[in-house]
Symmetry: C2
Subunit: 239 residues, 2 copies
Amino acid sequence: MLSNCEQCVVRNKSICSALDPDELIAINRLTRKVAIKAGQALIWEGDDSLIVANVVEGAFKLTSSLEDGREQIIGLLYPSDFVGRPFGDKNEYSVTALADSKVCVFSRSDFDEFVREHPDLEHKLLQRTLTELDRVRRSMLLLGRKTAAERVASFLLEMSERLADSSCSVVGGNLQLFALPFGRQQVADILGLTIETVSRQLTQLKKNDVIALPDHRNVQILDAGRLQDIADAGAFTAH
Amino acid sequence: MLSNCEQCVVRNKSICSALDPDELIAINRLTRKVAIKAGQALIWEGDDSLIVANVVEGAFKLTSSLEDGREQIIGLLYPSDFVGRPFGDKNEYSVTALADSKVCVFSRSDFDEFVREHPDLEHKLLQRTLTELDRVRRSMLLLGRKTAAERVASFLLEMSERLADSSCSVVGGNLQLFALPFGRQQVADILGLTIETVSRQLTQLKKNDVIALPDHRNVQILDAGRLQDIADAGAFTAH
DNA sequence: GATCCACATTGATCTAGATCAACGGACGTT
DNA sequence: AACGTCCGTTGATCTAGATCAATGTGGATC
């Protein structure tokens, strides 16, 4: 089945939103849709950068690892996000599906060339890269200087914001409920903590009625203000 | 005194290398050279993004802080590097001079506009941003998962590579000597450690003849291979 | 509904690195 | 030369979070 960019669900949110109908037909020829099962890798750390892609459906993690197995999640990708390293020859991280996903894949050389010919597309790519750089720098403060409690609180706030955009969340007044697309180990790998510490921090927040945990994947923020205080400076003492 | 881009020392290394002589004359009108003394800030965290710049001379740190004073250095800038947040309205971090420096400043709106009209310039900016993103992601692994010994070793290797390009280093065979442009506290703020831990790790490396420390600012790498082993997985035991 | 299995929670203990405290050495000023 | 200031080093102690070890728990399979 031929993929059709005009009907693409991320047509208006991905970098492709920079393209007009003619250009869309042109880019359509360079592209193929690929399904990736949960747990499957799209790109391996250290590999040559041969492909880039748009996420159409699902979720991915970017990870970097040490030889002994320690792993750090350095990014998360959702539908309409761009994946891969254009204009460079190595992938410095792995990209793995967190859920069954679909991506729209380009060969990197085709993509690089197409981008150079379409400045508006390159501009979208630059904007995304700058936004991602801001986000990643924010995590450097988290990883380098925040306590476990601050990390977990910051994480919950960021996830609630990010998932608010996508369909996974229900926002009603101050009631914020969302489903994490991953388990405790991966939360730990995002925050530079262990699974046990993450668990303990979450139960602590639950005990203090800052959040509710209907089940292991769902989180409900009960007191966003307090969570924000904890995230910023840990200004929090159990009563 | 009017600045002259043609004679600019970073003409061929900065993003301006994408411009031809005519364009250089055009951009010259948008620019002014500014001297910044060591310790002085060019951009404040949280400020509106009103200016961007090229570093001409000196060195800068990018920092992000928590209210109680904890600080994380999230980037370092050297001559020819680009500073600031184009296409966005907030600076998420501060930029402070580490040494007496010179920058070539644009108003952000002028710069944004000029960039959109010059795709080659935008391309250079994208390439830099992608490279910086790779670098920052590497530090996430360091900050999230590496031990103190691994962090210090990684840092020394990265600094030796980076400073090898600039004039501050002398490379002779395996003899690598370079001058850090900052003191222990700032090394600690880069690595997410305390000053005492950094100091102890350095003396440890010195005791084991992996490095030499002629004085507080200078570092000489004696055994780069061993330093690399320590950086990657801490595969190191004092004899 | 019983069994299993993967995952999360909870508890007890340990340790890397932080914190607190003293000391030292380089440099600049009088 | 004597003095003070700023930094860095070194030592002693403390603690947040890691590690080690059970113990729950919910969902899939038969």
